[in-house]
Symmetry: C2
Subunit: 206 residues, 2 copies
């Protein structure tokens, strides 16, 4: 059942449910109904039930879902259980802000290394992780077998750096540069394009 193909959008929502459920669990809430959870997640109850059904159902009819059970089920389905190391490339304003961001660790990710063309001048911002020169990137990534990277370099350099990352064995890139990266088959890219989001919003206000 868990081996069925889960649609991309569903995976997004499962992660969302997962986080909400963790909060509920922390608050000692033991059970939740699809309608209550759906409301917090901003989806329809039926959709939530369909989504959960992808990872083998586990609700009690007439009662709702057991929060701890669901968290475990989602951990398995999403593979969230273990801590994922992440590399960061480009420690400018945005990069150093993300280095300080607590939200990643909370969700099971740790930025274990950071790189920049000018590691000296930006190191002040970093805090925990030392900022290394680009030269050592490939070696470090290979050494620790890091599979995920956050890319916050200027658009003009993004494609070149992405190529380096792929060569070093990176399999997934969270890209903040406002261009569409061309990467070979198995590599996955998610884009966070802030200007695009604003433009999209502005379209919908009449």
């Amino acid at each position: 059942m868990t081996k069925e193909v889960i649609p991309r959008k569903t995976v997004y929502r499962l992660s969302l449910y997962h986080r909400i459920l963790q909060r509920l669990a922390a608050n000692k809430v033991m059970t939740v109904s699809s309608s209550a959870l759906a409301k917090v997640a901003g989806v329809k109850p039926t959709q939530l039930r369909k989504d959960l059904a992808y990872c083998g159902q586990m609700g009690t009819r007439g009662l709702g879902y057991s929060v701890p059970t669901l968290v475990t089920r989602l951990d398995e389905a999403l593979g969230t259980s273990s801590l994922q190391p992440v590399a960061m490339v480009g420690v400018g304003d945005l990069g150093s802000a993300l280095l300080k961001y607590q939200g990643f660790a909370r969700e099971g990710f740790e930025i274990v290394m950071a790189f920049d063309v000018d590691p000296g001048s930006r190191a002040a911002h970093s805090g925990v992780v030392r900022v290394l020169p680009m030269k050592s990137m490939r070696g470090e990534i290979e050494r620790l077998a890091v599979k995920m990277a956050i890319l916050t370099v200027p658009a003009t350099h993004a494609q070149a750096v992405a190529n380096l990352l792929v060569d070093a064995g990176i399999q997934a890139i969270l890209n903040f540069a406002p261009i569409i990266l061309q990467v070979p088959e198995p590599v996955v890219v998610n884009n966070v394009d802030l200007a695009l989001e604003l433009e999209n919003l502005s379209f919908f206000i009449r």
Copy 2:
């Protein structure tokens, strides 16, 4: 023709094409084919043509599209022509990084005001815009009739601040807090959830 309902996803891509075309125009490229443009945008040529057809077609068969004409057409369709003022709420690490980010201005957005619970201690980061206390938020937003806001406050305060923004007349929110905001009907919210993006990526690497 422009008055037809354009699907949400298409609007996203139109903005993307718009940006790419602007770059082409800056490089004095006068004409482009759907396949060339599609490749850069990371979509299929047929999809690009379908998308462009939403804002009244304007390609020359056998030749391609005129870059300047397309830019103009998209300007009209997206309403990108005028500069949009934006308010920023929450000037922590992420907020101050975004204040310095040049990408917004390039796409026609200007952050004209910033607010924080502790405007003094964070002002150093801001640069151009002065950081004001939350108290003055409603007044300033109303005074300049700002319609869009970027929300970068901690998750625990996000909903409360969103309510204030809506009361002040904000119609669109770009939300970085990792929760789903509940807002009344006409208000639009786009979420940028960094941890969720990472979690999503990690799912797709086997």
